[in-house]
Subunit: 370 residues, 2 copies
Amino acid sequence: MTDPRLTPLAAALPDVVPFVGPETQERRRGRAFRARLGANENVFGPSPRVLEAIRKAAPDVWMYGDPEAHELRQAIAAHHGVDPKHVRVGEGIDGLLGLLVRLTVGPGDWVVTSEGGYPTFDFHVEGFGGRIERVPYADDRVDARGLIDRADWTGAKLVYIANPDNPMGGMHGAEAIRQMIEALPADALLVLDEAYAEFAPAEELPEIAPADSRVIRLRTFSKAYGLAGARVGYAIGPAPLIAAFDRVRNHFGLGRLSQVAAVAALGDGDHLTHVVTQVAAARARIAAIAHDAGLVPLPSSTNFVAIDCGGDGALARRVMQELAARDVFVRMPGVAPLDRCIRISAGSEADLDALAQALPAALEAARAAN
Amino acid sequence: MTDPRLTPLAAALPDVVPFVGPETQERRRGRAFRARLGANENVFGPSPRVLEAIRKAAPDVWMYGDPEAHELRQAIAAHHGVDPKHVRVGEGIDGLLGLLVRLTVGPGDWVVTSEGGYPTFDFHVEGFGGRIERVPYADDRVDARGLIDRADWTGAKLVYIANPDNPMGGMHGAEAIRQMIEALPADALLVLDEAYAEFAPAEELPEIAPADSRVIRLRTFSKAYGLAGARVGYAIGPAPLIAAFDRVRNHFGLGRLSQVAAVAALGDGDHLTHVVTQVAAARARIAAIAHDAGLVPLPSSTNFVAIDCGGDGALARRVMQELAARDVFVRMPGVAPLDRCIRISAGSEADLDALAQALPAALEAARAAN
């Protein structure tokens, strides 16, 4: 039953959400997961300085957060060496994507993204009545040239690319992204989602040129900084576009403790280095576990590894389910041919012990049932 | 300069925000306020159990918050004795209002609210292209009958009322709201913003009838529960409308610590009683301070008191500015005749000492300059 007061657009939207949370799965199972390796969270956690900052600021939680997030915005601008007028802070990349789509995509407007790419972008575009052109991956990587071509054909307002990529883990180097920007049709905006940037080699990331009106970049504190539960993301882009977010923002949306936590996180570069090192080691171990099970891990510039299960989507889904039955939570891409893979987040040693123990049996059970 | 990729709707929106935060004012002044009495925050703060819960959960902040906010939703439902299907949790009442407007108000659709009422509601309606019919207050109270009449004339989708009211502080009793609901045109939805409900006499609040398809009620942890900086609000309403929020939500928008804090807050009824008592005492003292200065305080069922400065909007604005010059932050209503008042939040004893000290001189200076 639909509420009769919904707008025609809202009434036509499906009752689905991009992700079912691990907590929901745990409630359905009646049992907690042993290893939480499905949401690309950072098990190595935030800096101790962040925890200290949260604890210290907790008694101030009766005050609204600064609606301009002034201190955090300044800190991000300084971190990247850009003017604060190019920086917008928001409620995670998801929240910023929602506002960006609202600002730029009206009913019938086209956007271009990858088939099997980040579903929350699509969720927002559909939510504002936009039309989505999806370009298949090429050799398990985003087809950068294909995205540009389709943007040309459709007259797209937005071209979305996650680089490094989710869910496959690969990336295009700085030069490829530069070429993409140069080839972008006039009036299209490249939405460069760099949620996993801190895990990639710095020299592979395109230079930040904030005044370039063709690009908006999105970063987050949810991954390398270990603050997924605080919901802080930011955008770097051309000043007029950045300013326009004020027109549609949730005014006090960024909580006080979240702002404090993010400022503290930026201040501890050593911890970031520590996390990136730990994640690299975990990626290597996931790859080894895959090899040991006779499977092929894909190269990754992120905090997860996609593993080719050697069959079709049904087999990979079965492997994922058999892992869940063994209390290991992982996810998988949603469309073929990417869905021959499962996607495993970097975990602690204990998490990966659980994975190493569960994977061979899960694989065997999945193959037997297929 | 406007970004050329904005939708026509976004391009036409003004570059304004509903509120300038006190932090912004402090940065402009180069000096902190001594008493922060402008944002109707709860200086008495959250329960010690909340602070303990935040500190304990801080190390888990690397995990996304449960996107269904299951535990919190269950706790709210139990608190009000309703089924969880009638409860939606969100990023403050502001965030929920934004989603509600998005779900129900398309370009050209009408809503009805009060002239001088909560500006963030108007911000959202304008942001989605809706048209706003504003009904003047009658004798410093929301004109409930007038709202219904205008809803009839305009065919409004939404009728907004804050009860208890912000910025004037008064309220309509349960029977008046019941009559309003009965008189509501078919297909209109009453948006009953009860941000200040916990400060009002319980017997004056209309009964919660969650299955009633004519009403959605909004509550918050930002006021009586002392969690403005955590950004948690909730809606209670008809199940199909509540379910529709999933179609447009910021998926992981409610942070992990915020959820934990709100659950803990609901669990400490004694602290809530303590806060309500403290607030009542502070209201009485604000009224006494006003009387001592020869001014008239308005009756309040909230955590603030509107004080009639005895002149026009220019005089009240001057009083507000003179208070700020004396390091006391207050706000005031935006339109005549309400803007003859300033609005002062319940403060600590030290806050109100500062107010008592500053008000006579501020008033004198304001009158001299007028």
